[in-house]
């Protein structure tokens, strides 16, 4: 259990510092630090990877590759207060490579999703509704933006830089995406 006070979903500076400390310990080969970093960030990386590659299996691979890559390149990480953005960049590049290699079109494998979700005992009925809404009702860009801000805690301007989109686009897409999710949940009476 960790004790940190987050006033919003965005990461605080102290959290970022802690992540940077973990990365510098990883650079020295400390696998335990890799484990801690994993605990704190894997959901965010998975969510973002999923929003890029769509298939749960692919996202799992990206998650794994991202951490191997983090372990490998931690030495080169320069502490600039944006460790999350750095990790997300790695995940993004790996995801794009995978999509390019596979020459995959971005169709949404709904059945795969449903199968995957039903195999996870921790996923509640409500979780499933929300994830389904995120999958079906959001555009690719909206989904990526929501994952980066709401789940990974990136600031909107960091998201804009990462996705190479104007800040205004990110802000409006984010607002629209959250609204869509909200309606989806309310329509369902949750």
């Amino acid at each position: 259990m960790l004790v940190w006070m987050t006033s919003s979903i965005e990461h605080t500076r102290s959290e970022m510092r802690e992540l940077e400390q973990l990365i510098s310990r990883i650079a020295q080969g400390e696998k335990e630090a890799l484990g801690t970093l994993y605990e704190r960030t894997h959901a965010a990386i998975y969510g973002f990877a999923l929003s890029l590659v769509h298939r749960p299996g692919d996202a799992e691979d990206i998650l794994q590759e991202t951490f191997l890559r983090i372990y490998a390149s931690a030495e080169r990480y320069q502490a600039e207060g944006k460790p999350m953005a750095w990790m997300m960049t790695i995940a993004k590049n790996l995801s794009r490579m995978r999509l390019r290699d596979a020459k995959r079109t971005s169709d949404l494998p709904e059945e795969e999703w449903e199968r995957y979700l039903s195999s996870k005992p921790g996923v509640t009925v409500e979780d499933r509704l929300l994830l389904r809404a995120a999958l079906k009702q959001l555009s690719d860009a909206e989904r990526q933006i929501v994952m980066l801000h709401a789940v990974a805690g990136l600031r909107h301007r960091e998201t804009a830089a990462l996705l190479e989109l104007p800040l205004a686009t990110v802000l409006s897409k984010y607002a629209r995406a959250v609204k869509k999710l909200k309606y989806a949940m309310e329509a369902d009476g949750r």
Binding site: M1, V3, M5, S7, I9, T12, R13, L34, G35, Y38, E39, H42, A43, A44, Y46, L50, P56, E60, L63, Q64, E65, F67, L68, Y71, A72, S73, E75, R76, Q78, E80, W86, I90, N93, M97, K120, G122, V123, T124, E126, D127, L130, L131, V146, M147, A150, V151, R155, H156, R157, A161, L163, E164, L165, L171, A175, R176, V178, L181, K182, M185
Partner: protein, 590 residues
């Protein structure tokens, strides 16, 4: 349902759905390490050399494979499957980034976008098989047509990387002439062309380019600018367009990059307007100032005008958003500074690292000889100096933050390391019970109170919860006392303290009657509101839902000021003692 509720729910849903692959990751690391060490040992045996094995060799090797995988798209010497004989790689960067691979006869073997804008510029074009000059014409033409190059942003970067035997410089010159010609015939007239030969760029730079998803050429340009101006970071510059980089390059002298023409600054408000904004804010007339200087620069990824001047010997400094004219940071005499500034210089009267270590050891009741220090560092938490001291002893990790001037313990944490066998039970722990039944919430509370040396009557906000973490059933005991916030994790079976944390808490301090030294000279909520509104350039009447409240983060007091105006939501964190803007955010508000 509220906005932030959706965010929290989504975060939880993704957390619950995320797979657990940590074991696989760690195993893969181990396996790779194992293999490489074995190989190295064979080599050693043969040559009889005594090499030092780095634990991470394997990881580095794995990384090399990954990086190579990435570079296949562009790497010379590793021809991509269908197209051999790459003689040169040419990258064109504007904001769109495009890479072309050509053979010795300058025939295009591949054309690839390196960012989203690049993909837009290449869309619908079949360039493979065409001559390089035709392809460059088509691409630059497309960038002009799509408005990536116009009179507001007229810069392009041409980078050439040649294989051995190819005259990359000649190719560079030819392309510059080609693009000059295209510009001359366009509405832009004369553009600004940066060009370079990146044949000798090293692997580190290539890896960096890959890491940030930019071309090798752009990475090389950024390195050049950084070499002349160390204030910036690579990451900060990676997000800028070539025109912006070209404008920054005017402040430094480039050695490897050739520059033709003048980068446009027409998208910006201009130096005169920037000066006016600063003078108006400072409330001084231009005639009263001396040493007035303006420079276009970049701060946190934004282009700003840095305006500096003096009035009667006192210095004023402003950073003004070059596009909007908004003041993003300022430092003026006798007042608080706004925006994120540099760190405070260490003052002479710090207690010193040794003293800080001693304070931590004394508090923990650990002999220095028994402790393994893993970290001693002077850190500036938002400009406030403190020592971070971490050490291991007897299977526990101790983590202290000590105020570097007063020696006060700001934060302390003790955590049992995973897998460590405890040889020492904390004093307050009862004799280990062998029974599987939980000790009960009351007993857990007692243990925590005894350890913290507090009386139940003195504590507030007490919370005791049974929880399970890493498969271990434990009680979470949280409470506030005398201005500190305490968190304990107590093993529900043995009563052992698994984790304890005590942190200074200003809110608690305010409520606590026994607290002696709660800060007194705060700037007040109305001053905090004023500072935020002034920074946003808005009057109080122009905003709605103006709120300011005293809060605490990282052990310091701050005002959180929020308001809405013109469809945006503003959010400020302002140091409660000196009025510095610690953080601010402007967000679209639906």
């Amino acid at each position: 349902m509220k906005h932030n509720e959706i965010e929290t729910r989504l975060k939880n849903a993704v957390s619950n759905a995320a797979p657990d692959v940590l074991e696989n990751i760690l195993r893969t690391c181990d396996q790779k390490k194992g293999t490489v060490i074995e190989m190295e040992q064979k080599v050693n045996a043969k040559k009889g050399k005594n090499k030092v094995l780095r634990t991470c060799v394997a990881i580095a090797a794995a990384a090399a494979v990954l990086v190579m995988g990435v570079l296949i798209g562009r790497g010379i010497g590793q021809p991509a499957a269908p197209s051999a004989n790459v003689a040169a790689i040419i990258s064109l960067d504007v904001n769109p980034s495009v890479e072309l691979r050509v053979d010795a006869a300058e025939k295009v073997l591949a054309a690839e976008a390196r960012n989203a804008d690049g993909a837009a510029a290449l869309e619908g074009m079949e360039l493979v098989g065409t001559q390089l000059n035709v392809a460059v014409n088509a691409i630059v033409g497309s960038m002009l047509k799509l408005g990536y190059i116009d009179e507001l942003a007229n810069s392009i970067l041409i980078s050439v990387e040649g294989v051995e035997g190819v005259d990359a410089q000649a190719l560079e010159n030819k392309l510059v002439a080609e693009v000059e010609e295209i510009f001359a015939q366009s509405s832009v007239g004369s553009g600004a062309i940066l060009s370079q030969d990146v044949t000798s760029a090293d692997d580190a730079l290539a890896a960096k380019a890959e890491e940030y998803g930019i071309t090798l050429g752009k990475a090389a340009l950024i390195e050049e600018i950084l070499a002349g101006n160390a204030r910036h970071t690579f990451e900060e510059l990676a997000g800028l367009s070539i025109n912006e980089l070209n404008l920054l390059a005017e402040n430094v002298s480039l050695t490897n990059v050739n520059s033709v023409g003048q980068a446009s600054d027409k998208a910006y408000i201009g130096t005169d307007a920037a000066i006016e904004v600063a003078l108006q804010h400072a409330g001084v007339a231009k005639t009263d100032t001396t040493k007035l200087e303006v420079e276009l620069d970049c701060e946190n990824g934004y282009m700003v005008y840095e305006v500096e001047f003096e009035v009667l010997g006192a210095e004023y400094e402003y950073d003004i958003n070059a596009q909007t004219g908004e003041i993003v940071w300022y430092e003026i005499p006798g007042a608080a500074q706004g925006g994120a500034s540099g760190t405070t210089q260490p003052s002479a009267d710090l207690i010193g690292e040794e003293k800080a270590k001693q304070i931590a050891l004394d508090h923990a009741g650990v002999q220095e000889s028994n402790a393994t220090f893993i970290k001693n560092k002077l850190d500036y938490d938002d400009g406030k100096p403190h020592y971070e001291i971490e050490f291991l002893c007897d299977g526990y990790e101790y983590d202290y933050e000590i105020d570097a001037t007063s020696g006060t313990i700001l934060k302390q944490e003790r955590e049992k390391k995973a897998g460590a066998s405890t040889t020492q039970q904390p004093a307050a722990t009862p004799n280990t019970s062998t029974s599987d039944t939980a000790i009960g919430a009351d007993r857990a509370k007692e243990i925590a109170f005894a350890h913290a040396n507090v009386q139940e009557a003195d504590v507030t906000g007490l919370k005791v919860e049974l929880d399970r973490d890493d498969g271990v059933l434990h009680y979470d005991v949280d409470f506030d006392c005398n201005g500190y916030e305490y968190d304990y994790e107590i093993d529900a079976t043995s009563g052992e303290i698994r984790k304890q944390n005590r942190e200074w808490d200003d809110d608690a301090a305010k409520q606590s009657s026994t607290s002696s030294g709660s800060s007194s000279n705060l700037i007040g909520t109305s001053r905090a509101k004023e500072i935020a509104l002034a920074h946003a350039g808005l009057s109080e009447s122009a905003v709605t839902q103006l709120k300011a409240e005293l809060d605490r983060e990282d052990g310091r007091q701050q005002y959180e000021v929020e308001f809405k105006a013109n469809g945006y939501e503003y959010d400020y964190e302002i140091d409660a003692e000196n009025g510095t803007i610690l953080e601010w955010d402007k967000d679209y508000d639906d």
